[in-house]
Symmetry: C2
Subunit: 423 residues, 2 copies
């Protein structure tokens, strides 16, 4: 088990020290070639927590070094954060690759002392969030994301695993508690109280920020969903599956950065994806040079969100029907036709419950990105604060409705209708 202390050998890497670090790992030479002098590193980390180096040899071979920093990069070194998250990320990538390998970056090796994962450099992939800001369409995205969600959430759950194996994984990932705590505070709590790191488009949204803190119904619901986050160990969730954790080309989709991974509610990952689609949707108007020029693209976003859910559902149900090897709902109990039919109905109930969980989490994710510490480029890149606030106001309304009415929506199509009404 990793310690939260910085180990003796740990030093943050620099662009000029990365080649030396890599040269101490013989595996590197197979990837980048034999001569470290021909390797070039540049730091490109744009996330909140880590250093990320792209390293390329002059003949075009490449890799990425992702190194954890012992503090929250976004906030500064006053906010310590354990390096062990790198250890959990690596383990999550291993477990995810057992069930959804084609959607992940290939991991070359891991250096625990350096808290560094050395892995495939994905190119010409673009972070999905940036693609959405630019208005790029991804024809494979819905199918790939739906499949990734179905395979990872099913494959790490009690529907697929023997209970003792799953309990061992719950035990392991419970060690990632400090990363969970960031979510517990930043997503589920801080937006609903006065917190030093909260920020929003001000003074435009001052009224809404105050309303949020006074909204008793919303606050109760926020804690209902936090309870699921704290207590429901349904699957190994990515834990931070926003559109910044997805890299895509029109032909390929990869999910990166599971450093928040833990055993949590399936709906948390589903909601992260959906919430970020809706944030992107409401942001589009702010990116228009001419009125309505993003109309079709916005519709593509809604349609894609709906397709993600559809692909997820059908993929998850197919796995459940064909690969029910776990201790939950063991196939043996449902072998006769009547029981099989009853189980089929139960699966519908199960998926409906997941939809409610997902929408509640989606709403919470949207609200935190507008009032909490960490915002999203979709909205931040709208420079005019009037325009930005205009978009954000609509997103806040949908976010709130998703949370407080989470169990009332019948389908993503219904949510899309409401999103269109609001926009």
């Amino acid at each position: 088990m990793p310690s939260r202390d910085v180990p003796p050998g740990y030093t943050p890497l620099l662009e000029k020290t990365v080649a030396g670090f890599l040269a101490r790992h013989p595996e590197t030479f197979d990837i980048l070639g034999p001569d470290p002098d021909r390797w070039r590193a540049r730091e490109v980390g744009d996330g909140n927590l880590n250093l990320v180096f792209i390293v390329q040899s002059d003949d075009g071979r490449s890799l990425v070094v992702k190194q954890a920093l012992p503090y929250v990069r976004l906030v500064g070194d006053s906010w310590p954060l354990p390096l062990s998250r790198s250890y959990f990320e690596r383990r999550a990538l291993q477990l995810q690759s057992e069930v959804a390998d084609r959607f992940l970056p290939k991991v070359y090796f891991y250096d625990e002392t350096a808290a560094a994962i050395v892995m495939e450099y994905l190119h010409p992939h673009v972070v999905l969030r940036k693609g959405f800001v630019r208005g790029i369409r991804y024809p494979r995205l819905a199918e790939d994301l739906g499949a990734f969600l179905a395979q990872t959430l099913f494959g790490t759950s009690d529907l697929a695993l023997p209970a003792p194996r799953k309990r061992a994984q719950v035990s392991f990932f419970s060690g990632n508690a400090e990363l969970c705590r960031l979510t517990e505070d930043f997503v589920f709590t801080d937006p609903y109280r006065i917190a030093a790191l909260n920020r929003w488009t001000t003074p435009h949204l001052d009224d809404l920020a105050a309303e949020l803190r006074a909204d008793a119904e919303l606050k109760v619901c926020s804690q209902r969903f936090k309870w699921l986050f704290l207590n429901h160990t349904e699957a190994l969730v990515h834990g931070d599956l926003h559109t910044g954790s997805i890299m895509a080309t029109p032909e390929d989709t990869r999910v990166i950065d599971p450093e928040f991974a833990f055993y949590g509610p399936m709906g948390f990952d589903l909601g992260a994806v959906l919430g970020n689609f809706y944030l992107a949707y409401f942001a589009q108007e702010g990116h228009e040079q001419r009125s309505h020029e993003r109309h079709e693209y916005r519709e593509w976003l809604l349609a894609t969100a709906e397709q993600v859910w559809g692909t997820f559902t059908s993929g998850f149900l197919r796995l459940w029907q064909e690969n029910a090897t776990g201790d939950g709902y063991p196939a043996e109990l449902f072998s006769d036709p009547v029981a099989r039919q009853a189980l089929e109905k139960e699966r519908v109930v199960f998926m409906r419950r997941l939809l409610g969980d997902a929408l509640g989490f989606a709403g919470m994710k949207m609200l935190r990105r507008i009032f909490g510490v960490a915002h999203v480029e979709d909205l931040e890149s709208i420079e005019d604060p009037d325009r930005r606030a205009h978009c954000e106001r609509k997103a806040v309304r949908l976010g709130r409705e998703l949370v407080v009415n989470a169990r009332a929506w019948l389908s993503l199509a219904d949510v899309n209708v409401r999103a269109r009404e609001l926009s």
Copy 2:
């Protein structure tokens, strides 16, 4: 972390070797006096898994040695079971004693190699199940049990604990997976399929046993509750809180044997208590020498079950109102009057959900005691199989209704009405 292998120094104790074992622990002399020749041990374990020795010195001082065996005593040494359960039991007793000390046996010391807990000999306490068979009333029982449940379930949950501390405890107790597996199989699965160890009063209940295995609705519900057992880490539950794990006098109540302890749904302990009260209720008729002589006692059992729930509810709510120091529903978010009122309503929703969980688990516990491997003395001690089957048939009906309608009951009073109708 304990290993599941038998450690080198482990040997099952015998009545004649217990004094020697104790004499190697200096703490013993403070408890039993200086002279081991004056200590007498007798093995009294009547459970399914362990050795239990009462050790008394000839001047009346006493203690109990509870030693785990590396297999299921009930089945034989063909069924291995890890000694580490003793380690989890000891830790559970520690954590429970932080919040509910007066309802526990005092632990003197623990020998990990011997997988032995040395603790207070409770006397003149009688195992509650035996008391119920004899028709003994316990005036303090409802209040004590309700308080124990409220204090342990609240005090180990996210309502009381900071999330990282709770996640550390979830991590630790996830190691008790093999004990959980016994419950997963024996309670939630085996009664609903053909399993080698199943048994029932035959041929009297052959029809019901076959009905159970063909009951699609019941099987779906059994797995719905198993899902909670597998996934909801709400509190450190005792895990085996039947009336054989409670020792009582009319003045005192103690809860023993938490070797199945793990982080699970709060309703599981609540349901274990209630289900065993209802089993005791339906068994009473079988213990009557004269018709109706147990009528008042049966009513006392129903009234006590209802009072347990009432005391639990009021105790839990009071703790939540006065000691909400955890990360779930943090008090800070609910400090203004409107939010406080909304939270008060949410607490009612929370308790209603717990009632549904508890009744579902109660029903599952009842059914497994009639069709699974481990039965209860309440019913087994009815020697005439016709009479026994007559009682069991009624208990099965209530058990099934509790499971399939778990969320429909409004109160324990309603369940009691139905129990009376059936009896």
